[in-house]
C-alpha cells in the first residue's frame, strides 16, 4: 500500500465508509454552523439595503444558495446513481439515495423563499415563469425518484430502477429548462456567472458565496449521516456492525 496516494476504493467498503463518515460529520456540521452564522450576520446586518427593494431583497442570501444547491444536488445524485448502476459500487447507491431528501428539501426551500420574495417585488406569490416552473418540475423529479425507490421492495432492484430514472431526469433537466424559457420568462437572468464580474456589490456576492458554502457543509453532514444509517440497515447482519454498535453503547 503506497503512502503517497489516497486509497479511494478503501472507502467504498461500507465498514470503512461508516468510520470515516462518523469522524467527518462533526467537522462538517461545525463548519456549517460557523458559516451560516457568518453569512447571516453579513447578510442581515452588514450588507447595505437595496436602493429599490429596501430590506426585502435580503432573502436573496437564502434563496440563491438554496436554488443552486437544488440543482447541484440533483446532478450529484444522478452521478452517484450512474456510478452505482454501471460499476455496481454499493456506496454510490447509498449516497444517491441519501442525497435525494436533502435535494428535495432545498428545492422546496428555493420555491418557498422565491414565493416570499415574489410577493413584495412582483406583487404575487407565484407566476408561471420559466425558472419557477422548472424548479417545480425538479421537485417532482426528486419526489418521483424517492417514490420509486420506496415502492420497490427489493433493495438492489430499487437502487437500479431509480438510478435509471435519475439519469433520464438529468438528461431532461436542460431540455425542460430551455423549453420553459422559450415559453415564458419573468425571472431575472443570472447575476453571478463564472465568466464575468458580478453585477452586484462585493459584500453581497461574498455573502451569497459564504451562505452557499454553508449549505454545502450542511448537505455533506446530513447526507453522510443519512448514508450511515442506511449502511447500518443494509449491513445489519454483518459482524462489524454488531462490533461497532457494541462499542458505541454508552
Amino acid at each position: 500500500m503506497s503512502r503517497t496516494r489516497i486509497q479511494w476504493f478503501h472507502f467504498t467498503a461500507p465498514a470503512n465508509f461508516y468510520d470515516l463518515a462518523g469522524r467527518l460529520i462533526p467537522a462538517f456540521a461545525l463548519l456549517s454552523v460557523i458559516l451560516f452564522a457568518m453569512g447571516l450576520y453579513l447578510g442581515l446586518w452588514v450588507a447595505p439595503p437595496d436602493y429599490q427593494q429596501g430590506d426585502s431583497y435580503r432573502i436573496i442570501y437564502i434563496h440563491v444558495p438554496v436554488a443552486w444547491m437544488s440543482m447541484f444536488l440533483y446532478v450529484l445524485m444522478a452521478i452517484y446513481a450512474g456510478i452505482g448502476l454501471i460499476w455496481r459500487i454499493k456506496m454510490a447507491e447509498v449516497m444517491a439515495k441519501s442525497i435525494a431528501p436533502t435535494g428535495a428539501l432545498f428545492t422546496f426551500l428555493a420555491l418557498w423563499t422565491g414565493a416570499l420574495w415574489g410577493r413584495p417585488t412582483w406583487g404575487v406569490y407565484w407566476v408561471w415563469d420559466a425558472r419557477l416552473t422548472s424548479e417545480l418540475i425538479l421537485l417532482f423529479l426528486f419526489l418521483g425518484y424517492m417514490a420509486l425507490h420506496a415502492a420497490i421492495e427489493d433493495r438492489q432492484r430499487a437502487a437500479n430502477a431509480s438510478a435509471v430514472l435519475a439519469l433520464v431526469g438529468v438528461v431532461n433537466v436542460p431540455i425542460i429548462y430551455f423549453s420553459v424559457q422559450w415559453w415564458n420568462t419573468l425571472h431575472q437572468g443570472a447575476s453571478i456567472t463564472v465568466t464575468q464580474a458580478p453585477t452586484m456589490a462585493t459584500i453581497m456576492w461574498v455573502t451569497i458565496l459564504i451562505m452557499f458554502l454553508a449549505c454545502w457543509m450542511y448537505s455533506i453532514a446530513v447526507v453522510l449521516a443519512r448514508a450511515r444509517t442506511e449502511i447500518l440497515e443494509r449491513e445489519r447482519r454483518a459482524r462489524w456492525v454488531q462490533e461497532r454498535l457494541e462499542s458505541e453503547k454508552p
Binding site: 416552473t133 418521483g144 415502492a151 435509471v164 431540455i175 420553459v180
Partner: protein, 222 residues
Amino acid sequence: MTASLFALLQRDLVLTLRRPQDALTVAGFFVVVVALFPLGIGPDPEVLRTVAAGVLWVAALLAVMLSLERLFADDYRDGSLEQLLLVPLPLALLVLTRTFGHWLVAGLPLVLLSPLLGLQLGLEAREIGVLMLALLLGTPILSLIGAVGAALTLGVRGGGVLIALLILPLYVPPLILGSGAVDAVMHGSSAQAHLSLLGALLIFALVTTPWATAAAVRIMLD
C-alpha cells in the same frame, strides 16, 4: 431481423384487435376529458378558442399515460416478457417496436380525433392543421418517454399512480412545444420553430429512450 420485429409488431396489433375495448377506452377518455372543459369553464367561444390547444394537449397526455400500463404489464404477468429477453436481438430494438405498436393503437387515434375536437373548441382550419402536425410529432415522444416509466413500474405496488409522478414531469417539453405551435399560428406568427424543436425532440427520444427502457426492463426482470 426485420421479419422477427415485424412478427412482434403483428402480434401486438392482433392482440389489440382481438380486444379493441382497450384502445377504444383511451380514445373515449380523450374525448370525454376534452368535453368536460367547456362544462367547467363555460361555453364562451373566445375563451374556449384560447385554451383549446392546451386542453387538447393535456387530454392527450393523460390519455397516453393511462394506456401505458398495458405496454408491458400483460406480458410481464403471463411471462412472455421474459421470452422476449431471450430473443437474439438487441432488447432496445424490440422495445422500440413494441412502443411503435403502442403508438399506433394509443397515439395515432388521438391525432385522428383531434380535428373534430379542435373544431368543437372553435379552432380554425389552419390551426387545426398545425395541431394535428404537432400531435403527430408529439404523441410518439409521449409513448417513448412513457415506455421508460412503464418499464420502471413493472410489478410495483400502486404502479399506476406512481407512473404519473415519474412521467408527467418529463412530458413538459412536448406539452409546451406542442401547444406553443398552435398558439403561434393563432397569434399570426409561424409555427415552424416549435414544430422543428418538436421534431428534434422526437429524434432525440427515438435514439435515447429505447436504451433506457431496455435497461429498465432488464432491471425489473432481474
